[in-house]
């Protein structure tokens, strides 16, 4: 049978070469679709089975509130102490250097005035410190844009200094949480990488958007504590082209 089929195809190829080539291409394409569809189904099933938690943890922006597309300006709230302040510029510079965000100007005083009022946009990020119950930090939207309920004009980050100072690795926790909350202001979602079972990081690489205490990482002092993985960076870079 195989020889008969091969002979028939050889005859066809010689008699009608263009028709034969078109048919061959169609067969190849059909098989390609079948293979890709099968792979797709398998990979989707693996993703859903291996880590259902990771599937919920990666919308952008994480709370549906988009940052503005201009610079990502910031200021210190009067509550921010010198220890906390020592961690902020490094995080801001890292965000700027690793993304297409057009600038990270520091505002000497926090404000909500737009460009037409004082020449520059409202401060995007206000850094505060406080005593939080069981939290290292929060970054809620404080001011919603009037003309668009899905845009946030200003987020105020509160760093729970009390909990960080009492953690096992306060220096690394400061770095991770400052990076983490700043990531939220850029719309990045967090994930429960230290949960039971742990969520797989979006993009597969542990970064500062993991929630929780750095002591639960296999390497609490690793460079991941101040880095965003490529998956998160791609979210920022598609928003700030």
């Amino acid at each position: 049978m195989i020889n008969e089929e091969g002979s028939r195809r050889e005859t066809e190829r010689r008699a009608f070469p263009s028709v034969f080539i078109r048919k061959e291409k169609m067969i190849i394409r059909k098989w390609r679709i079948v293979v890709i569809a099968s792979l797709s189904a398998i990979l989707t099933a693996i993703a859903a089975t291996v880590s259902p938690v990771s599937l919920m943890a990666n919308t952008w922006p994480f709370d549906g509130m988009y940052p503005d597309k201009s610079t990502h300006s910031w200021c210190y709230h009067s509550s921010a102490g010198s220890t906390l302040r020592s961690y902020i510029p490094g995080a801001m510079n890292y965000l700027y250097n690793s993304t297409t965000i057009p600038g990270i100007p520091q505002h000497a005083t926090c404000d909500t005035q737009n460009s037409n009022q004082d020449g520059d946009p409202a401060t995007d990020v206000v850094w505060r410190q406080g005593n939080l119950n069981g939290q290292f930090g929060t970054a809620p939207c404080f001011v919603e844009t009037a003309s668009n309920s899905t845009h946030c004009d200003q987020r105020q980050i509160t760093i729970g200094v009390n909990n960080i100072e009492n953690s096992d690795y306060p220096h690394q926790q400061y770095i991770k949480t400052v990076c983490h909350e700043l990531g939220h202001t850029a719309g990045f979602d967090h994930y429960a990488g230290f949960a039971n079972p742990p969520a797989i990081p979006p993009g597969g690489v542990l970064d500062c958007m993991v929630s929780g205490d750095v002591k639960y990482a296999s390497n609490p002092t690793g460079s991941w504590i101040w880095q965003y993985n490529s998956h998160h960076l791609s979210h920022a870079n598609s928003w700030w082209p």
């Binding site: 390609r32 679709i33 890709i36 797709s40 990979l43 989707t44 993703a47 859903a48 880590s51 259902p52 938690v53 990771s54 599937l55 919920m56 943890a57 990666n58 919308t59 994480f62 709370d63 709230h77 005083t109 926090c110 404000d111 909500t112 737009n114 206000v126 406080g130 005593n131 939080l132 119950n133 069981g134 939290q135 290292f136 930090g137 929060t138 970054a139 809620p140 939207c141 404080f142 001011v143 919603e144 009037a146 309920s149 946030c152 200003q154 105020q156 949480t177 979602d189 967090h190 429960a192 230290f194 949960a195 039971n196 797989i200 979006p202 993009g203 929630s211 929780g212 639960y216 998956h231």
Partner: protein, 247 residues
């Protein structure tokens, strides 16, 4: 011919990268579903901060570190204070959830003149909406008290794990509804509010789960955590009592 291939590849990539999916544990966190006479709780109104925190692995682990634990029913919502943030800045608006205690489990004084039959839970009310016709301190919160009542109505079964509220760090510009001297104002951690959703009770789903995390989903500690085990508020109360929490 290339489009379907690209689409299939994209579906795979999105699935693997985690750009899809929804909350687990079967708890509707957003959107409200009407079932019979009940409307599903919409806890998204409380999920406005997404804190960086280390989730505790079970209700009893949380009860161990929080000084106040009680179950009860939502008694309503009231204005909290509005706090100064920075000069000429918007105010930080707070909202207070009242929970009428039915099951004191830890740190509740149930007798005498200072009995705590009501717990007051201080919460962030969410963003204000920019209004350039007014000064920033006059900008109003997007969410009204009616929104909170509609999302998590009076009568909803609730459990709170909390600490006594520390003095506000910003100066109080508007006091909100004044609390009595005996009132216990508390601050919950992210896992510190749990509600029972009557639509899930009515639904009688196969897993029977009717509990919903308030500020954070219950599965924030993982689907294998102790939070996955109690199916309703009675289960949760019993679990804590069996772990020695009972005033």
């Amino acid at each position: 011919m290339k489009r379907p291939i690209a689409a299939l590849a994209l579906v795979s990539a999105l699935a693997l990268s985690g750009c899809t999916g929804d909350e687990t544990f079967g708890n509707p966190a957003t959107g409200q579903i009407t079932r019979g006479n009940y409307k599903a709780l919409d806890v998204s109104i409380l999920r406005v901060a997404e804190s960086d925190f280390q989730p505790l692995s079970s209700p009893e682990a949380l009860a161990k570190v929080q000084p106040i634990v009680a179950a009860g029913v939502v008694d309503g919502w009231q204005e909290g204070p509005a706090l100064a943030t920075y000069p000429n800045g918007p105010l930080e608006h707070r909202v207070v959830l009242r929970i009428k205690v039915t099951h004191p489990l830890k740190g509740i004084d149930t007798e005498g003149a200072n009995s705590n039959s009501m717990i007051y839970v201080d919460l962030f009310r969410g963003a204000v909406v920019r209004d350039d016709s007014k000064k920033p301190e006059e900008w109003l919160p997007k969410r009204s008290l009616e929104d909170f009542e509609s999302s998590i109505p009076t009568g909803t079964k609730a459990m709170v794990f909390a600490a006594n509220h520390l003095p506000y760090e910003g100066s109080v510009i508007k006091p909100g509804v004044t609390l009595s001297d005996e009132a216990v104002l508390t601050s919950p951690p992210p896992q510190g509010l749990v509600f029972e959703d009557q639509t899930l009770v009515q639904q009688k789903s196969s897993d029977g789960r009717a509990l919903v995390g308030g500020i954070e989903p219950l599965d924030v500690a993982g689907t294998g955590s102790g939070w996955a085990e109690p199916k309703n508020m009675d289960d949760l109360i019993s679990r804590l009592k069996s772990n020695g929490f009972s005033d």
